[in-house]
């Protein structure tokens, strides 16, 4: 088993699923979205981040499963009070050593801690099949319904992502569909309609749809990593609300933000 790298264990997370949560951020992602708000999550290896004042910090460390479970269990009382738990995020947890991930999920479950998976969907389908009913929920990102655009911006086509989404929906997984909104790229009415059509056609009925407007929180970190930062446009409130209203004609729970 190769132990994956983790770049942050964030207690008191309130935007990664229901209740108070601890979110484990794994390092390494099959996509390379240029707007990523955690650019240090893309590489699978430890990296050095250098701040403006010259201070250097190594990001990425390995935890034996038992240690990570112990760390996550520290806030169990808060999960119990709020219906929260642990969210495995990234980077992409579903492409990490799957023996490790399975053991982590089962160890947490054995303590009575529910586990949510935050995923971009680009991972072997059998892994989603394996976890479909073991994870309490999936926060499932969708960037572009158009596969070519997806390849162009995120570094890979979306065919497998859509397939896995359908797979999870058919398996009855608890889905929080997260649509990343980039003004001028995926917020026009044609994109909205084709996205909606695809979801309806494939009988995807998420528990919630979360609209996540693009923001620049990743810029600071990208600079520290010495990476170029590419600017996108934050959609206007009007755009976001229009999207929300359209989705609400089909889905009952649509929120702005996680």
């Amino acid at each position: 088993m190769s132990v994956p790298y983790v770049f942050n264990v964030q207690r008191f997370s309130i935007n990664d699923g229901p209740g108070l949560r601890t979110t484990v951020f794994f390092k390494g992602c099959p996509l390379s979205c240029p707007w990523c708000h955690n650019p240090e999550s893309i590489s699978f290896e430890p990296e050095v981040m250098v701040s403006a004042d010259g201070g250097a910090e190594v990001v990425g460390r390995q935890y034996p499963v038992a240690e990570l479970v112990e760390l996550c269990a520290k806030d169990q009382i808060f999960y119990d009070q709020s219906g929260g738990g642990v969210t495995l995020s990234g980077g992409e947890v579903m492409v990490q050593d799957f023996g490790y991930v399975t053991e982590l999920v089962e160890s947490l479950r054995a303590k009575g801690i529910t586990v949510g998976i935050d995923t971009c969907g680009l991972a072997p389908s059998e892994r989603f099949t394996a976890l479909a009913n073991r994870a309490a929920f999936f926060l499932y990102d969708l960037k572009f319904i158009d596969s070519e655009k997806h390849r162009q911006y995120c570094g890979a086509p979306n065919d497998l992502i859509l397939k896995n989404l359908k797979l999870l929906a058919d398996a009855g997984a608890n889905l929080y569909l997260r649509l990343i909104l980039l003004e001028g790229l995926n917020t026009d009415s044609q994109t909205i309609e084709s996205t909606l059509n695809w979801l309806v056609e494939h009988e995807i009925r998420p528990t919630e749809v979360n609209l996540l407007p693009y923001h620049r929180f990743g810029q600071d970190k990208a600079v520290k990593l010495g990476r170029p930062w590419r600017e996108f446009v934050t959609p206007s409130d009007e755009t976001v609300n229009r999207y929300k209203e359209r989705l609400e004609s089909v889905f009952t729970q649509v929120t702005i933000g996680g």
Partner: protein, 793 residues
């Protein structure tokens, strides 16, 4: 600014504006009447009778204030924001008066006439008689050395014991009923067999005199209202005044029968108790929602009161609290409690006597009033139990996250458990279990729980490291327990720390006992005794052990600093040997200047309290246990037991000012953390980790502990943020946490407020157990609040 227009009705808007814009002033009226009574009667009658005669005369002669819009009447001074002085406790010098008038913060207007009277009448009579003068003369040199070095403060230096809370008896009995109770006890005295007969008689006669004074106060207000009604050209106001007169015909002489009479009953009692003596400084209505609920329900059902009327009466009461600045303080007392706040605290939503949730419509009315008026006083808290409706908690959190520190959250189950641990009965703990003016628990109407002073815990370690020498006063103030360099183990160092702790606690407790005896002998409080069980029955004053329960609190400050400092010594001197005693002691003397590597080691690379880290938190548990062993359970002259609690008011600022740098990287002169909050900058894993660490203190064995959490607004915005805060509260209380409060103002706002105070006249922040205007705080305290860790993702 629109802030002054708060209030649900035009009337309460006007009253609030008056309350907020009137400059506090001192009033010598009370002191002058007291002087005359003492000149006539001192030495001729027993002390309780002397105090009773004074109070009755005060009620007969004092100026009565009845403002244009008022529905609820009574002021401590001659008008709103007028503070009487208490020369029998602290006889202010002329310099004190000049200082009060001139100082930038917490100032009081003093007129030339005041200065003249103080010089000619008050000082000649009271300078030698004041308890402060007597106690300073009697306290031993060892006490003065430690007091001046800032090892502890003394609450009774300028104030008397008190700071207590009413139970429900004043809503069931009027002062004529109390007189009947007293007369029955007087009739029972067995002069042949009872060796306390004459004392008992004196105590009861004093109590009877103050009840008569209360009746006079009501009668005079009824007469004044009628007089004003006759002169009044406005028929609406005329009717209001006639109704007021009718209210004062009933209360306080008789038990109240209506909601409005009940509110007025409390308020006249409040005025009586707080003018009788400066009882540090407060009196509080306690479980006001439960006390008023029967009147409210009956009148709503009968159609004689609307919800809006009830809310307006409550608003009038709130403004009355805000009209009373705490009596002026000077010197160290001002430093430990630098505020106008009179520490009135209202407990909403507490458990009922039968153990069920006490949340009622009156509880929600109180939340609405608190939110609408946004006043410093009264401090408002909610008591949350497992049984509290989620809706109540949610509504309270919605107000709390607006960021001005109210309401604070107290744990009902913890309060009850703490009281049971101190030996109270389950019935009393449930009926009267409250968190009083600040944070400490008490049994309302049944207990004298006296705060005796703050205890500077980290300075005890500083004295060990400096071999008993104090850098602040440049004196040897405590024993030399040896050169730390010679301590062969952490255990040896810790043993020296506990020995020093014992020494300081011994001196403090001996001082407490001397002061308590002084109050027992010379400063009875017959009115407070009348309304505190079982003083009438025992024929014994509140200050002499007449209350059913008696507790003496010592409030420990800075346990996070001492914990983290011990962690540094344990981890790096005796653990990994990265640090030598020489290097640490030199760095501390230099305030870490030129010792960057050492600072980085102790500040950044040591386990610290507040991170849910068992290495540091186990040291914290040792620190708390040692405090319990050194302090808890010690008896006092009147039969009280000493109890540890953790609250600071503003004393953490003063205590920091008298200290050199600490081993944990806290710089010299910087404030200590408040209550059980972590050292600033030490907690790095967010609020859940802080709460887990704080819950490792066995809080049920204390008299209360204050935890302050500061958030930036974005963290707890929206529905998710609301749920997050509710979860923090529920979880902390499930782990037996006693109290938690929230400050929700971002750093940028506070910095801007410091730079442009004129634009932030309405900015209220939570300080420690109470809220205050940011502009009322001195720079050090402002800086401290800015520096407190902002919990964010």
């Amino acid at each position: 600014m629109s802030e002054t227009k708060r209030g649900f009705t035009a009337r309460t808007q006007r009253l609030r504006e008056q309350s907020e814009t009137t400059r506090p002033s001192i009033s010598l009226e009370r002191a002058l009447i007291e002087t005359e009574v003492y000149q006539q009667w001192e030495g001729k009658v027993p002390t309780p009778v002397l105090r009773g005669l004074f109070f009755k005369d005060l009620m007969r002669r004092r100026t009565l204030y009845l403002g244009d819009d008022e529905l609820i009447v009574g002021e401590k001074g001659v008008a709103p924001q007028s503070a009487p002085t208490f020369p029998e406790l602290c006889c202010h010098t002329l310099e004190d008066l000049d200082n009060m008038d001139a100082r930038e913060r917490v100032s009081f207007a003093v007129t030339d006439a005041d200065r003249h009277l103080q010089a000619e009448v008050i000082i000649p009579f009271w300078a030698e008689r004041a308890t402060m003068t007597k106690m300073y003369a009697q306290l031993p040199e060892a006490w003065h050395l430690l007091f001046n070095a800032g090892l502890f403060t003394e609450f009774m230096a300028q104030r008397g014991p008190g700071h207590t809370v009413a139970d429900g008896k004043i809503y069931r009995k009027g002062y004529l009923d109390f007189i009947a109770d007293i007369e029955a006890e007087l009739a029972k005295i067995d002069y042949g067999q009872d060796m306390r007969a004459s004392d008992r008689k004196a105590e009861l006669e004093g109590m009877k005199l103050v009840c008569e004074g209360m009746v006079i106060l009501g009668e005079r207000y009824a007469a004044l209202a009628r007089e004003k009604a006759l002169e009044c050209g406005d028929p609406v106001r005329q009717a209001e005044l006639e109704e007021l007169a009718a209210v004062c015909d009933v209360v306080p002489a008789h038990a109240p029968r209506t909601f409005r009479q009940a509110v007025q009953m409390y308020w006249l009692t409040h005025i009586g108790v707080t003018s009788e003596m400066n009882n540090w400084d407060a009196y509080s209505p306690g479980k006001l929602d439960q006390h008023l609920e029967p009147f409210y329900n009956a009148e709503i059902a009968a159609g004689t009161l609307s919800r809006e009327q009830a809310r307006e009466y409550l608003e009038c009461l709130w403004i009355k609290f805000n009209n009373q600045p705490a009596p002026p303080k000077v010197g160290i007392t001002l430093k430990e409690s630098a505020t106008y706040t009179d520490f009135c605290n209202i407990n909403t939503g507490s458990l009922r006597p039968d153990g069920t949730s006490g949340v009622s419509d009156v509880s929600y009315l109180i939340l609405e009033v608190m939110d609408e008026l946004k006043l410093l006083q009264p401090s408002s808290n909610v008591q949350i139990s497992r049984k509290s409706p989620e809706h109540f908690l949610r509504e309270a959190v919605k107000i709390s996250r607006k960021g001005w520190g109210q309401p604070a959250f107290y744990n009902s189950e913890a309060v009850v458990a703490e009281l049971l641990n101190m030996g109270k009965t389950m019935d009393d703990a449930r009926e009267s279990g409250i968190a009083s003016g600040c944070v400490e628990t008490g049994t309302a109407g049944k207990e004298a729980y006296v705060l005796t002073g703050y205890f500077n815990v980290p300075k005890v370690l500083e004295l060990v490291l400096n071999r008993g020498f104090d850098h602040y006063t440049r004196k040897q103030v405590a024993p030399d327990l040896g050169d730390p360099r010679s301590f062969g183990s952490y255990e040896q160092l810790y043993a020296a720390y506990t020995e020093m702790l014992r020494y300081v606690a011994d001196v403090k407790v001996a001082g407490n006992n001397l002061i308590e005896k002084l109050f027992m002998d010379t400063m009875p409080v017959p009115l407070l005794s009348v309304i505190t069980d079982d003083c009438i029955k025992k024929g014994l004053d509140y200050n002499c052990g007449g209350a059913r329960y008696n507790t003496s609190y010592i409030q420990c400050v800075g346990i996070a600093t001492v914990t983290d400092s011990l962690a540094v010594i344990k981890a790096h001197i005796y653990g990994d040997a990265q640090l030598s005693w020489d290097e640490l002691l030199t760095a501390l003397d230099a305030d870490f200047e030129g010792h960057d590597a050492t600072f980085d080691l102790v500040f950044n690379q040591t386990p610290k309290y507040g991170n849910d880290d068992d290495y540091a938190d186990s040291i914290l548990r040792d620190v708390v246990e040692s405090l319990q062993q050194a302090i808890a359970g010690r008896p006092t002259p009147k039969g009280a037991k000493t109890i540890v609690e953790f609250l600071p008011t503003t004393c953490h600022v003063y205590f920091g000012q008298v200290m050199q740098a600490s081993a944990n990287g806290r710089h010299a002169g910087i404030p200590l953390p408040d209550g059980i909050s972590p050292e600033k900058g030490a907690d790095r894993h967010g609020p859940t980790a802080v709460i887990k660490s704080a819950a490792k203190i066995d809080q049920l064995k204390t008299g209360g502990a204050l935890l302050n959490q500061k958030f930036t607004p974005s963290v707890i915005a929206g529905e998710k943020g609301l749920t997050a805060v509710m979860t923090l509260i529920r979880s902390y209380f499930a782990m037996d946490g006693h109290h938690i409060q929230f400050n929700v103002v971002d750093r940028a706002t506070l910095l801007d407020a410091q730079a442009h105070p004129e634009q932030y006249s309405d900015l209220i922040v939570r300080v420690a157990g109470y809220s205050d205007y940011f502009n009322n705080l001195d720079k050090a305290l402002q800086d401290e609040i800015i520096a407190r860790t902002e919990q964010q993702i």
